[in-house]
């Protein structure tokens, strides 16, 4: 029971490594083992979350070397929740990517695509769990490499955006390594908790400022914060349809969590320039929210709309970090959870529509709710939640962010929050109007022999996202209590 934190990451890793070998034995065996292992890691992460809620943060030392020597996993309620989120959406994406298996002709490429998707899940799980600074870099590399490959699978334009993302992503990883080198040069350890103690003692403010100047752009590029988001729209929209929900929904959020871990757990509030960094992050997120929403209005391809709205939504999360009070942090993490299901749900629906009708342009989405009621239902709920209509989770996260901004007295953040929600309303209601009211384009269905067989693999992710958006909305007080367990003392109280 106490080995679960390590097994959450190692179990899908072993399944991914053996996938190609098992595929040579039997066609479906590799994928079945992968789905089982990710399901097992989902169940284990729920157990670990329950254990964390009852007994407080867990420290799991790899190789039984105590804190500053070996690598350790630190699990508190914040990354316990995120691990459950990652493994749930990863599990759904694995099922969902089965429908798009027909694109890969040979057994080798089909197995390889599953391996890369599973290694992306392993990278994301590791990034949330780890408590070691250099280990975070290795998991960052696994996540980026599998993301480059999955984006490159998305056809001709995917290749070009994958190469641009590779260059920018490697620059970000190198900047991150430089920041770690400066911090290592000043503190001597690679463990986050140990580094935090040493940094809080001495007067190392100049080195910390220099390191943060490299770390914030590195995380900014990885999570596509406003000035560094150049690669993101084309990368998210042309990524492989089977893996798009995981890439757009979750992959942008984990570097945001890592930035939180750096800003609040390693640097802490008594760092001399702490408030000025928060202001800079706040400025980035304010411009990001406005820019992302405005650009999204002008698009017709649904994937481009969702990609630009991702730039805006990541702005909400970094706004929560910029405000800094525990309530704002809870709002940011609730928005992270909610947005993963919203964006994941929207891309599940886009994939389902593209699978059935083969079109991505919202002009010819006329009255498809008659043929695809479930998908359009989730599309509507996710759109409403993005805008922030009460019963859904989007409203509550914006509510917490807004109330925290009001309490701190930052009226600019509150105003931008409202304006950006209104801008969201414009292009999401336009989307709903296209789906329900527009005249019927009588799209002919794409007839694929695989289409008939995998019905439930399309429906299950869509339904789970539907339930999750509403469920998180109704249970948001419970989630905020869980988050508050470990966020109470953090940030500007």
């Amino acid at each position: 029971m106490n080995n679960f934190p390590a097994l959450i990451v190692v179990c899908p890793l072993c399944a991914a490594l053996l996938n190609l070998v098992l595929n040579r034995i039997n066609e479906k065996l590799g994928k079945a083992v992968i789905v089982l292992s990710v399901a097992a890691s989902l169940i284990m992460s729920v157990f670990v979350l329950a254990q964390v809620i009852t007994t407080g943060t867990i420290h799991y030392h790899m190789g039984n070397y105590d804190m500053p020597l070996g690598i350790e996993f630190v699990i508190d309620t914040v990354n316990g929740l995120i691990v459950v989120l990652v493994s749930l959406i990863g599990f759904l994406t694995l099922l969902f990517s089965d429908n798009f298996g027909y694109k890969f002709k040979t057994r080798l490429t089909k197995g390889a695509a599953n391996t890369v998707l599973t290694l992306l899940i392993v990278g994301l799980l590791g990034m949330t769990l780890t408590g070691d600074v250099f280990n975070l870099y290795v998991f960052l590399e696994i996540t980026s490499l599998s993301a480059y490959c999955l984006i490159a699978l998305g056809g001709e334009r995917g290749i070009f955006s994958a190469f641009r993302y590779l260059l920018v992503g490697t620059v970000a990883a190198t900047f991150y390594l430089l920041g770690v080198a400066i911090l290592y040069g000043v503190t001597g350890t690679l463990n986050m908790a140990d580094m935090a103690d040493i940094l809080n003692e001495g007067g190392k403010d100049q080195a910390m400022l220099l390191a943060i100047c490299f770390l914030v752009p590195a995380f900014g590029i990885k999570m596509a914060l406003f000035p560094f988001h150049g690669w993101q729209p084309s990368a998210y929209s042309y990524s492989e349809a089977g893996a798009a929900p995981l890439i757009t929904g979750v992959m942008g959020k984990i570097p945001a969590y890592a930035m939180f871990r750096y800003l609040y757990c390693i640097y802490g509030t008594d760092f001399k320039y702490f408030n000025s960094i928060l202001v800079i992050v706040g400025v980035f997120s304010v411009f990001g929210m406005l820019y992302g929403s405005i650009r999204a209005i002008a698009q017709t391809d649904i994937r481009k709309i969702l990609a630009y709205s991702s730039v805006a939504q990541i702005g909400y999360i970094s706004l929560g970090f910029a405000i800094g009070t525990p309530i704002a942090l809870c709002g940011a993490f609730l928005h992270m959870l909610g947005h993963a299901f919203m964006k994941g749900g929207l891309f599940f629906c886009t994939g389902a529509i593209r699978h059935k009708f083969g079109t991505v342009n919202i002009e010819d989405f006329g009255r498809i709710y008659k043929k695809m009621p479930l998908t359009c239902g989730t599309l509507t709920i996710a759109a409403l939640s993005m805008v922030g209509i009460p019963p859904t989770v989007g409203f509550f996260s914006k509510w917490y962010l807004g109330s925290a901004a009001a309490m701190q007295g930052e009226w600019i953040y509150l105003a931008v929050l409202v304006i950006s929600s209104l801008l969201n309303a414009i292009y999401f209601f336009r989307l709903i109007e296209k789906v329900f009211i527009n005249e019927d384009k009588s799209l002919k269905e794409r007839v694929y022999d695989e289409f008939k067989t995998c019905g439930w693999k399309l429906v299950l992710p869509v339904v789970v996202c539907f339930i999750a958006i509403l469920g998180l909305g109704l249970a948001n007080v419970k989630i905020i209590d869980i988050l508050m367990l470990s966020l109470k003392g953090v940030g500007l109280c």
Binding site: V10, M62, Y65, V138, Y148
Partner: protein
């Protein structure tokens, strides 16, 4: 147009250089009591022989104290091999040769001097030596220099040497298919993970070599754990390099292949 590029290069360099020169932040190079040299590393240096039974401190750090890092680093290697296969998996359309501006080699250096040295004889001498050296580096990794990566890369280089010299028709040593080499590349990191799981089975935490359920005393268990892990890394790195080379070879048509 050249001037514009020079100016942008200079601006970029000054932007990065100024902060480093402005604050004198980092410890002086080489002073023994700077932060990195005094805080944690003394434990590694003093306990490397007693705990991990490996005089080579770098190997003991990679494969014992921070073994979790290297497992995922080998996975990155395997992932890059799989990614190259996936990206190069499509059949390229027959392109008209308008784009292929093939400019023949202008400088003529007379008859090829390689006639005197027989490539095939050289190959049959060099390759066994490199392979023996690679095996030595692998199994001697924790005493002297070396380790999994270097051994795997060396064996990968013998494959490369072999592919470059022996003509495509009569190549028989490493001639198994792309799919098989990728599957073996996958088992490399899996052997590494098995080394960690053995610690779990023995009742300890993950990657704890002392808990391997074998009736041997502690330092010896560490060296067995290190050996399993090093073999895993070697297999992973070797087969990934062979996979990437094979994947690129299928796409790149060597004109002098049919000589």
């Amino acid at each position: 147009m050249q001037l514009r590029r020079v100016i942008t290069v200079l601006i970029m360099v000054t932007i990065l250089v100024v902060p480093f020169v402005a604050f004198r932040v980092l410890p002086e190079i080489g002073d023994p009591n700077s932060a990195p040299n005094s805080h944690v590393t003394d434990y590694y240096i003093e306990h490397t022989i007693s705990e991990c039974n490996s005089p080579n401190m770098v190997t003991s750090i990679i494969v014992d104290y921070r073994a979790f890092d290297t497992m995922f680093e080998t996975t990155v290697m395997f992932l890059s091999g799989v990614a190259v296969i996936l990206i190069l998996s499509n059949k390229p359309k027959k392109r008209d040769d308008m784009f292929r501006k093939f400019n023949p080699c202008t400088t003529n250096t007379g008859p090829s001097i390689f006639k005197t040295v027989n490539k095939d004889v050289m190959i049959s001498i060099i390759e066994p030596l490199i392979l023996i050296y690679a095996i030595y580096v692998l199994f001697h990794g924790e005493v002297s220099l070396g380790g999994g990566f270097q051994a795997g890369a060396l064996i990968g280089m013998t494959y490369l040497l072999d592919v470059m010299v022996v003509k495509r028709k009569d190549r028989d040593i490493f001639n198994y298919s792309l799919e098989r080499s990728v599957s073996v590349a996958g088992t490399g990191p899996f052997i590494y993970a098995v080394g960690g799981i053995l610690g779990l089975i023995g009742g300890g935490l993950f990657m704890e070599f002392e808990a391997i359920p074998l009736p041997i005393e502690a330092p010896e268990l560490h060296s067995i754990g290190i050996l399993i892990v090093e073999v895993g890394v070697t297999v992973g790195v070797m087969c990934t390099i062979i996979t990437i080379l094979k994947a690129i070879m299928d796409r790149v048509s060597f004109d002098d292949d049919n000589d």
